[in-house]
Amino acid sequence: MKFAILAFPGSNCEMDLYYAIQDIMNEEVELVSYKKNSLEGFDAVLIPGGFSYGDYLRSGAIARFSPIIPALQEFAKSGRPVLGICNGFQILTEAGLLPGSLQKNVSAKFICQTEPLVVNNAGSLFSSAFKLAQIINLPIAHGDGNYYCDQETLKRLIANDQIIFKYRNNPNGSVANIAGITNKAGNVLGMMPHPERAVEDILGSSDGIGIFQSIINYVKSREVVAHG
């Protein structure tokens, strides 16, 4: 299968994702510039962390006007997997692909540390490698990771089982301890923690592999169905 990693001006985790997919997951992967307007030939799209356009105005606010975004919207609509990590999550909310928004952390400070997460839905295409309620450790590194949505939206997220990961010790003030949510269809995941930073024990954790593995399993199982 083949992953696309979108790179915006100011993205800074695209290579980390690249190495995670290429060296650890051993899958095909290609960087796709924000200037392109097609995502043809890819099975899954990853939107990396970083500071697209310096996070000026609001994180993700400017990136979402990039030429690649219509193609991304199209890709998402087709039901194929899209994973936005950190700034990628922020871009997805700004682009309207995920509900809610990400505000400044309650501490008003950037926080970089490893956080325990609770797997709140192990049935999604992004979390099938985990067990429900499993605790996984993933690093966070963000200043604007405080997830906000109104009560209605939260009810819908819960009712549809769209909350995939929750913080055990809510480091940033997110509504309902939310660390990662999907869209209603379940094929677009936005999460603040960085799975690509947790793919080797020497870096402190390899729990992030489960997320990439889930995506790969999903895509490959569909290939089998399609070809079988």
Partner: protein
């Protein structure tokens, strides 16, 4: 030329940690008659001539909806002043 002043503020229900921190600090410094403090963004946009007021209103609303404010958490309002030249 028109000068458009746009004010973007957080919606009431949204907690703004920065504003909170400033208000707390003011309290510590003894400014205890400050009952409330809100912090928002303030844009001054200079727009070239040759556009009707209606179109300008449409354009500014557009810019704000699309980019300057996030409807999930922010409100905006603006005023337009005609000016002779860029300020």
């Amino acid at each position: 030329m028109a000068l458009v002043k746009v004010y973007v503020n957080y919606k009431k229900s949204i907690l703004n940690p920065e504003a909170q921190a400033i208000q707390k600090a003011l309290g510590r410094l003894g400014y205890d008659n400050v009952n409330d403090l809100k912090l928002g963004k303030y844009f001054e946009i200079t727009v070239a001539d040759g556009i009707s007021r209606d179109d300008l209103n449409k354009e500014i609303n557009d810019i704000c909806d699309k980019m300057l404010a996030n409807y999930n958490m922010e409100n905006y309002h603006y005023d337009i002043t005609e000016t002779e030249a860029a300020q």
